[in-house]
Structure formats: C-alpha cells, structure tokens
Amino acid sequence: MSKRTIAIASGKGGTGKTTFAINLAYSVNESVALLDCDVEAPNTHLFFQPVINDSTVVNVLYPEIETEKCIGCGKCKEHCRFGAIILLKEQPLVSKELCHSCGACVLACPLDLIVERQRPIGFITNAHVNLPLNSIHLIQGMLNIGEARSSALIDEIRKMEIQEKLHIIDAPPGTSCATIAAVNRADYLVLVTEPTPFGLNDLKLAVEMAEKLDLKTGVIINKADIGEAPIKNYLKEKQIKVLGEINFDPLLAKTYSEGRVIVKELPQYKPIFEEIFARIDEEMSR
C-alpha cells in the first residue's frame, strides 16, 4: 500500500475537524498516523489515553548581533522585511517574536557580526494508542503560549519520517499560512462545514485555498439538519463531492463534550465513518 495523506480542514472554527479526524482514524482497518497540526490549541490527546513515547522541542533561529563591534550601518534593519530589527542610538535591537528566521540580516551585515541562535517555540509529542483492530500513532504539535510561529512548528511535523502509510492531518481553522502548512501536498482534503451563513462563507474561502493548492477535495456537512439548501447548492455548482452528512445529535454532542470517541461510545456511527473512509479512498485513487 502506498502512502496516503488525508488532511482535515475547514474555514470556520468549531465545525468538527478534530472530532472527524479522530473518529476516522478509529474507523480504518490499518495502522494510521494522526498528525495534530492545530498547534495553538491541539485537542486530539484529550480523546485517548495515549502512551507517550517522546517529546521533542522545536526551535527556530534568531539573530544575535555582536553589538560591541557594530558600526551602526543599519544594513541589518534595512534588510529585515519583518520589522524585527530596530536601531536604538545606532545599536541594533532584535525583536525575537517578529523574526521569521529568514537569514537576511546575517547576509546583509558587512562585518559578519550576526550569528544565528536557536530558541524554542513549542514541542512535538510522539505517542501511540493501541486499539483492538489497529493502532494510532499520535503526533501532536503544541506551540508555546505567546509565540506566533505556528507554521514553523507545523512544517517540522510535516517533515517527520513516519512509518505508517496512512496519515490523517488535523489542521487548524482558517485559510492562512498555518493551515496551508498543514494541508499542503495532501493526497486528499476533507473540508468539514456546517450549513449556516458563516459556515458557507468560510467554506468558500477554504475551497479557494484548496484550488490554489490544487488539492482533491470533498466535504462533510456536520449538523446537517440545522440549515438548508445554500451550502448544497454551492457544492453542486462547484462539483465538490459531499462525502457525508451528519445530523445534529445531542447524544453525539454530549459524548464529544466528555472527551469520548463517538464510534467507540455510539457504535451506530461506526459504519458511517467506515463508509466515508471508503468514499475518500475511492476518490483518492481516481
């Protein structure tokens, strides 16, 4: 079996990405890696009792300037396009949080006074969950509170060598660089949406993102019975496959609220997720 990556995203927050990703991982018949790339607020670990294998700190580079030898030419500030270097009385001052680790300042300094140091922005935890029929390799990124470099952390997760052939990625909400880092180059993108005006508005943005990234896309409509036609009309018009619809179920909501896995506690949902996976598998091989 070849490697397949399924990314789960949405435009709007709170549509059910993590719930869907977890329950999908639970419902497949093979070992699967679940990559939690919602690094600002990761939640996957709350639904399992994972056995943690290791935790790795993720660092980014920032410039350290030898200010004693600095002649105050200002080239470092001039070449920093992120405003991370200012000059205070001709002495450069670096704002680490604004730095994008691009290396422009290092190249710009005529006296080679800038070296790059590492600083931590978060960590990646490697864990596994053994289930009766398969196992889930849970890889989760967590950004340190106050840091802004979500995509740097997500890039590290995506670079990891992972044994399992099937990868499911839980992406952050939105359509900006962090989400792109999570879903880029996936074999299939599942967009989880809800049939409300906000849901539709943000789904359109997510579809635009999918088109820009040239990703095969399908949609899950969650809480399908709370709204009506506009979302389905839009999907029909764009010829985007509806992989499944899940109606609002107070029992499902309660189960989720307790941090429990739907297909485990409410077995009537297992065939639904199995069917959805079969559809995704079929769409991926087209």
């Binding site: 994008h100 680790s101 802004a148 900006s176 989400t179």
Partner: protein, 289 residues
C-alpha cells in the same frame, strides 16, 4: 472609550454572535472584525453600506527577470521556505513565499526585484450599530498580526474622533499571532467557551495568554447545559487563572436563526438567551467603570 476583545481559544464557541449582541446593547460602538482568516461579522449585521475598501500591503513578492537570470541557483539555495526550485529554469511557488527578500539580496545578476505584496484588505462598513472595520486576509497569507493591528488602529481613530464609548474586537480562534495582536492593550478580554473537554483545554491556554499579556479576562460559558460537569470544571479553571465566569447561556437554536435572519441574539426578546446576554452586558459595563 473602552476596548473589549472577544476571543475563545477554541473555534466555534460563538464569538461573533456575542460581539454582535454587545454592539446591539451598548450605548455607542465601533466594531473591529479581526478574525482576518474568515471574517464573518458583515454577514450578521443588517442594513450595511460599504464606505471604503483599502488594499493592505505587507512584505514583498519577488519578481524574476528571466533575461538576466543565469540559473546559478543561489536564490534556491538561500530560500529557507521552499518557495524556489531549479529545473531548467528557476521555479517560484508564490504560496510558499514569506516575503523575506533574501533571494533578491543574494542574486549576483540582480535579476530579482521586490515588489510590495498585497496580502489582504480593510473594508469599512456602516452598520445599524455603528461603523464596522473589517480585516480580510487573502488566502494563504501570513502577517495576520499586522493586518489586525491596522484594523484596530483604523477603528480606534474612528472611535476617538466620534467620542464613541466602546470598541469591540471580534478575534480569531487560537492563541497565535492575530489573537495576540487583538489582545494587546485592550481594557478587557471576554473569553467565550463551551463545556467540553476541548473547550476547557483551550480556555486554559487563552487565559494563560491573557495573563501573559496582563489583560483582565471574563468568561462566558456558551451551551452550558450540554455538560454541567464540564461547566463546573470551566468555572474552576477560570478562577484558578484569575478570570471570573460572568455568565452562562443554554444551548439555543436562536444562535443559528440569528445568523440567517441577520439579527443579534439580544433581539429575540422572548428568549432566556436575550435576557441572560443583557445581564452579562450590564455586568461587563460594571466591571469597566
């Protein structure tokens, strides 16, 4: 003028719905929609006219002159974001470009010129509750923090000039760059949460961020009747992190109806939600005076 940021940690808890309701109930306000990835407030507020649209520029996009390029590959080697590759010619993937300009700096042939990059826009609306300044980030862009800062500045200038009482900021989910920019320097953060294990976990992270930024926070538990046990845990977490739970709202379908009908949840006069939201707003006003 008091600045209030509505944030959540977890997505989908009801931030935008509450911002609209507070705007409705307040004496006078300006609203800043800083959920720049997926701005939604304009959908909620009725009778709106667009006053102006301004493109927002941040960072640079390199332009490659194929005539000057000799395929040395220096730009490819120095780009740390994987936006450049060398096949028969230099291949540029704009969606991966962070706009750092290193490629232009290192090109020995000066074949790369940097142009200012449009990353989004700021739209100013007039709504029935007051002016709405909305930031919209173009797909796949970064530097959302800068856009949020610009939207806030525009909204603040407007509020100061017109002697407005409140500036409401509709924030993004998460705790990253746009949220940090939405929180810095505000008078109060209102955190909307839900009684789920995920909600409580994310609440802890957003409250820690508020503490780090020294912003006082109040918490509202939405859909609280979904899980009373989790609601209790949320109260404990909030208190441990020095935030008060200022109100609880039952799961109410009027949140969805309000979206469709372009009303605020405070306008469904016969619902318990409307009464509770009014009480919450009064409490917020008390806290701010």
């Amino acid at each position: 003028m008091k600045e209030i940021a509505v944030v959540s940690g977890k997505g989908g808890t009801g931030k935008t719905s509450f911002v609209a309701a507070f705007a409705n109930l307040s004496s006078s306000c300006v609203i800043a929609d800083c959920d720049v990835d997926a701005a939604n407030l304009h959908l909620m507020l009725d009778s709106m006219s667009v006053e102006k649209k301004q493109p927002f520029y941040s960072g640079y996009l390199p332009q490659f002159d194929k005539n000057l390029c000799d395929n040395c590959g220096m730009c490819v080697r120095k780009c740390r974001f994987g936006a450049l590759a060398l096949d028969e010619a230099v291949n540029f993937t704009p969606i991966l470009c962070e706009g750092c300009g290193v490629c232009s700096d290192v090109c020995p042939q000066t074949a790369i010129v940097l142009k200012e990059k449009r990353v989004g826009e700021i739209i100013s609306y007039q709504t029935r509750f007051g002016p709405l300044i909305q930031g919209k980030l173009d797909i796949a862009q970064s530097t959302s923090g800068k856009l949020v800062t610009s939207v806030r500045r525009e909204a603040r200038d407007l509020a100061d000039a017109a002697n407005i009482d409140y500036l409401f900021i509709d924030g993004s989910p998460g705790i990253g760059c746009p949220v940090i920019s939405s929180l810095t320097g505000v008078d109060l953060a209102i955190v909307i949460t839900e009684p789920t294990v995920s909600g409580e976990h994310d609440l802890e992270r957003i409250l820690k961020l508020c503490n780090k930024l020294a912003i006082p926070a109040l918490v509202i538990v939405n859909k609280y009747d979904l899980n009373l046990d989790q609601t209790r845990k949320i109260k404990e977490t909030s208190e441990r992190l020095e935030a008060k739970v200022v109100g609880k709202i039952k799961y109410d379908r009027s949140f969805y109806d309000a979206m469709s009908e372009r009303k605020t949840i405070a306008e469904y006069f016969n619902t318990t939600t409307a009464l509770e939201v009014k009480k919450i707003w009064q409490e917020i006003e008390n806290v701010l005076t």
